[in-house]
Amino acid sequence: MVNTLMHPTCTLTKEDTGSKVDQKLYRDIIGSLLYLIVSRPDILFSVCLCERFQSDPRESHLTIVKRIFRYLKGTTNLGLLYRKSLDYQLVGFCDADYVGDMIERKLTSGNCQFLGENLISWASKRQANIAMSTAEAEYISAVSCCTQLL
């Protein structure tokens, strides 16, 4: 059992050296994890990162995916809690990672929306743009948060 999904300094890259992994197996695993991200915002980022390597999965990528399963095993009864409340204030949070994606240097945007104090929507997306600055990265992520809110 592990406490986190990925090591903070971990970067996944496309590699040619590591031994190849059965692509079907890798896709099966990713496919089953995709079902889970509907109710588990904590694994969203890692799953999204791993699914980018579906075309050519290597041993190192599979290790990360296995770690997700080890994490899930330890947190099977972790879930989102929704409390009854009369507070209907919509609140959005947005954040961006300038070059989250090391291969294509694209930005990763993340946002979540709360209704009162309950989390109702969340997203993590690698945007199509290549940001020229951190400000632009944050700006684009704010825009995607805004489209979700309206």
Binding site: P8, N111, C112
Partner: protein, 94 residues
């Protein structure tokens, strides 16, 4: 979401969007097109209209309380657990 809430007679005015970079907030509040923001595609500038109309409200939040962090980068154990708690994720004891 806003439109859906309106169907339920809940009118949300000035929805706050929290962001941890002040430049971005200033940029979306100020309708002037700076020469240094030229490279940002025009389609992204629609957010300014909504801020001007008062439908959205950009606000600053420190990085510590930026819950969207969890969706953009791998985090340390403490930070990861802290954000999870604040996203209302709890262990359910059967």
């Amino acid at each position: 979401m806003k439109h859906q809430l309106e169907d339920y007679q809940i009118n949300a005015n000035s929805i706050p969007i929290y962001c941890d970079i002040t430049v971005v907030i200033c940029l979306s509040k100020n309708p002037i097109l700076h020469s240094r923001t030229k490279h940002i595609e025009i389609k992204h500038h629609f957010i300014r209209d909504y801020v001007q109309k008062g439908i959205l409200d950009r606000q600053f939040i420190d990085t510590e309380h930026q819950w969207a962090d969890i969706f953009t980068k791998p985090l340390t154990v403490e930070r990861f657990d802290f954000i999870k708690k604040n996203l209302n994720m709890h262990f359910v004891s059967d």
